[in-house]
Each structure stands twice: as C-alpha cells, then as structure tokens.
C-alpha cells in the first residue's frame, strides 16, 4: 500500500489526466487554434492586404491573436473540475497545491500553446513577416506563452466560482499580459530588421522564471478562495 504519492508521481498523474481529458474534448484544442487563424486572417483583410503594411504589423497581430486565443482556452483550466467537484478533492489531497497547479498549467500549455507555436510560422508567412524574424517569433512564443498560461491561471482561479466569469477574466488578465506583449513584439521587430534581440529574449526568460515561481502560489490562494 502506498500511503502517499511522491511529488513527481502526483505531477505526472495530474498531467496525464488533464492531457487525456483534453484529447477527449478535441474542440477545446481546435477552437482556440481556429480562432487564432481567423483573427490573423481578419487583420490581413481588414487592414488591407498590402505586403509592406502586413510586414510591419505582423509581429503585433500574431502576438495579440496568441493572447486572445490563450484567453479563450483558459476557461477550461479549472471550470469542469470545479463543477464536478474534483477540484475540491485535489485541494484536499495531501500533495502540495503548488505541484497540482503547476501540473494543470503545464497540461494546459501543452494542449493550447504548443499547437499554436507550431502553426505560427505558417501564419507568419501569410502575414509576410521577414524571414529573419521567424526564429525570434518561435523563441518568444516558446518562452512567452507559458507566462500567459501561468498569469492567466491566476485570473481563472479567481473567477472560477462566478457564473459569468468570461468577460471579467479578460479585464483582469489582459493588463497583466501587456509587458510580455511589448517585449515579444519588440524582439520580433528587432529580429525582422536584423538587429540583435537577445536582450528582449533574456527579459522574457526572466519574466518566465519569475512567474513560474510565484504564480502557482497565487493560483493556490485564489483556488482556496473560490472553493471556500
């Protein structure tokens, strides 16, 4: 009889469970992705399909679309677990909340952001981004999207017990996303004009580690508030 799961096992169990749930509900993965593609297409149509204009706005548009599609997918992070009561069971378990929350956020990132990162070069090509910017776009998305998931999880945890949390969530979370947006678009723009962008990337990495360490505690506190 195993009295308590080790932290590693607990992390793995939750991660696999959430990934399995995500794979069974393919809409949850596909819809934010389709949204991401459609928003970018709308920008290209709405602004006017002139290659040099598209080239200028490409980093910003791709990043804003990534922010919005992340926001769209965040709802499912805790909502279903909250409704069927398994969230309370998880919080009652002897395993620290930090580990559980980190596993759930990691599963969310794998399900939502990784497909988005893989699709990004295609859309960058549609937006006529300069080829020098591709690597920067990939790296900023790789380092930046986990920050979006981590910070977004705080907002979801705060609003999970509310009936109409969706719109409120965007008001709470989007202001916190702005530093990442500024740094990431600046990095891609610098790279597209073949300037060095390692400085921006280093700050994004610093933000990533800072939010990786602090956000799960805030999420844990917020979940305890929401579940009472």
């Amino acid at each position: 009889m195993n009295p308590a799961l080790s932290y590693r096992q607990a992390f793995k169990t939750i991660l696999l469970r959430d990934l399995k749930i995500a794979l069974r509900h393919r809409d949850d993965i596909l819809n934010p992705l389709l949204f991401f593609i459609i928003v970018i297409t709308l920008f290209a149509i709405g602004v006017g399909a002139m290659p040099n204009i598209l080239m200028k706005i490409a980093p910003g548009v791709i990043w804003v679309a990534a922010l919005l599609s992340t926001l769209l997918s965040l709802e499912r992070l805790f909502k279903n677990d909250y409704q069927d009561g398994s969230l309370e069971q998880l919080l009652l378990s002897p395993c620290p909340v930090f580990i559980l929350v980190l596993a759930k956020i990691f599963a969310h990132w794998l399900g939502t952001s990784v497909p988005l990162i893989l699709l990004a070069p295609l859309l960058a090509m549609m937006m006529n981004l300069h080829p020098d910017g591709y690597m920067a776009l990939f790296l900023t998305l790789l380092l930046g999207t986990p920050i979006l998931s981590l910070l977004g999880a705080i907002g979801v945890a705060l609003t999970v017990s509310l009936k109409k949390g969706g719109v409120l969530l965007s008001l709470l979370i989007l202001p916190l996303y702005i530093p990442v947006l500024i740094l990431a678009t600046a990095a891609v723009e610098a790279a597209a004009s073949s300037y060095p962008y390692q400085g921006h990337l280093a700050i994004i990495a610093a933000l990533f580690f800072a939010s990786l360490i602090t956000a799960p505690f805030a999420v844990g506190a917020a979940l305890k508030v929401s579940t009472n």
Partner: protein, 247 residues
C-alpha cells in the same frame, strides 16, 4: 502599539473613529487646497520653458503620485486581509479602489491636456502613459471583480489576491521614465535627492499634494463607513444606529 491598535479591529469602534476623522480631513483638505491652488495657479512663477501651461502640474503630479500610492495602500490592505484575515481590511480595499481609479483618470486627463500644448499631441504610446493606463485597467479590474461576487467575504479575498498581483505594475510605472528614454519628462519631485525645481514652485506643489491627499483620505473614509455598514448590516449596533438616525 498592538494593544493600542487592537480595539480598532472592532467594526463599531472603527466606524465611530472614522466618522470623527472625516470633518477634520475635510477642513484640512479645504484649507490646504485653497492655499496651495491659489499659490500655484496665481502666484508661482511661470516655467522658463513651458510657460503658463506648467501650472497644470499642481494637479497632475499629485494625482499621479496618489494614483500609485493608493494602489500600494490597497495592496497593503489586501496583504493584511489575506494574512491576518481582517474583515476591515476588506472594507478598506473596496473603499480605496474607486477613489484610486478616479485619481488615475485625473492624472491621465490632465496629462493629456498638458501634453497637447507641450508635445503637440493628446496621447502618445509613451512608456509612462501606457503604464499609467494599465494602472487604470487594474483598478477597474479590482472594482469589477469586487462587484461580481454575491458573497462579499469570498469576493474580498479574491480582490485581495488581485490587488497583490497587480502591484508588480507600480515599479514599472515609477521607473519607466528612467528605463526608457521617451517623451515624458524625468522625475522632478518623486526622487530622494533635492527636488530639481525652484522653491517658489516646490512649496505650492507640496501644499497641493497634501491637500489632495487629505481630500482622498476623506473620500476613502466616507466610502469606508458605507462598506463597514453594508458588511455589518445585521449587527445590533448598526440597527441601533439606523433607528437613531430615523428617530
């Protein structure tokens, strides 16, 4: 000091104490603001570069400092509410947030009015302007989250967490003029060294600042009374108060 502070954790005592403070705050704010604004708007010299438009500074800078200071005090209240479970700290957050949002809006609007003659534009995506706008969004988020909960005590805890998370924006606003070399001028009064402005302008500014600070305190106290009453509406002392006011 703890013994001295302890009775004020009782809502009734805090209510009566705050009620006594408000008239004092009102009087002090009225005196300081009338003297400070008169000195600032009529007597202080015009700036050698910016001319008469510099006078908006006596409203703009106090509002900007207060917008950040009030957010910080709200975050401190949030910290106290989470760590020591103080019910009154919850009421304080709900009292501070709209006042802070108003001062942020004043700072943004007066800044725009000042920017038009000086920079030739109402708005520019300058680092400090952007971060001050984000501060406004953070305040609005706190207010919206507070309104979204039916259960006030549960909502208050959520709001405390959000207020604490948002505090990360404050150093960004404060240092934005030093980190990024943009259109907004550097700090002139909110630095530790001697202020880089003439005394004839500095003294009216300080008087104005404290005038606005007392005005904000008075408004917060007034809102705090309302919050305390709403949260304790079933207590006997509130009922007594209500019947006494009616009778």
């Amino acid at each position: 000091m703890w013994k001295w502070l302890h009775p004020y954790a009782n809502p009734e005592v805090a209510y009566q104490f705050t009620e006594k403070l408000i008239p004092w705050f009102n009087v002090i704010a009225a005196i300081l603001l009338s003297v400070g604004l008169f000195m600032g708007l009529a007597y202080s010299p015009a700036d050698y570069q910016q001319g008469e438009t510099v006078r908006i500074f006596y409203i703009h800078v106090p509002a900007a400092i207060l917008s950040m200071g009030l957010y910080f005090s709200m975050a401190i209240a949030g910290f106290c509410a989470l760590v020591w479970q103080l019910k009154l700290a919850h009421a304080a957050i709900a009292a501070i947030a709209p006042v802070g949002a108003a001062f942020t809006a004043i700072a943004l609007i007066t800044g725009a009015a000042w920017g038009k003659p000086m920079w030739g534009t109402w708005w520019i995506w300058d680092a400090r302007l952007t971060s001050e706008l984000i501060l406004l969004f953070l305040y609005l988020g706190v207010i919206a989250l507070d309104n979204a909960f039916d259960d006030k005590s549960q909502g208050a805890k959520a709001v405390s967490v959000l207020a604490l998370v948002g505090v990360i924006n404050l150093p960004i606003i404060h240092y934005s003029v030093e980190w990024w070399n943009t259109l907004h001028q550097g700090a002139t009064v909110t630095k530790f060294a001697a202020p880089s402005m003439a005394m004839s302008m500095y003294i009216p500014f300080v008087i104005c600042f404290f005038g606005f600070a007392f005005l904000a305190s008075s408004m917060i106290c007034k809102r705090f009374l309302g919050q305390v009453l709403a949260r304790n509406s079933l207590r006997p002392w509130v009922k007594q108060l209500a019947t006494a006011k009616e009778g």
